[in-house]
Symmetry: C2
């Protein structure tokens, strides 16, 4: 398989995991049980993978991490709106 | 920052997220609530990132995905042992 195609399929699979979490928060309008720390660590990690992807000219890494970072920042925004602090 | 160092730090951050899940299953000896599908998709994704990393000679991608794949397969093994089917 062409490396770029391989990387893009890999990226689609590891990105898709975040979609149900975003949809769940939108549906329940609740994000009290979401950990700032976990998503904070993952977002910093994705930002660094993106930076690495730019440095080594990897299209799949750049595309994948732009999308995962967007999803993770959406989860942050939704948590800010729907669930700071513990569940009431 | 040196690209390899950047990638290895990125990989450490996105890998570390799986460690608490493994520790939790070992502590509680229960994995009923773990989704085969989510971890299945992630494991196939990690295997493909590993393959992509080999093809493009990326040390950080290879190192990171060997570790995440090992953690994901451990979660599979633990689920096989501690929690097939619904919670009793």
């Amino acid at each position: 398989m062409e490396p770029d195609v391989l990387g893009l399929v890999a990226g689609a699979l590891t990105t898709i995991a975040f979609v149900p979490q975003v949809l769940r928060i939108l549906r329940t309008r609740s994000a009290h049980d979401i950990s700032w720390l976990l998503f904070g660590i993952l977002a910093v990690g994705s930002a660094m993978w993106l930076w690495y992807g730019v440095r080594v000219n990897s299209l799949p890494l750049v595309v994948t991490n732009v999308i995962t970072l967007t999803l993770q920042l959406s989860i942050f925004g939704l948590k800010w709106r729907y669930g700071r602090g513990k569940r009431p």
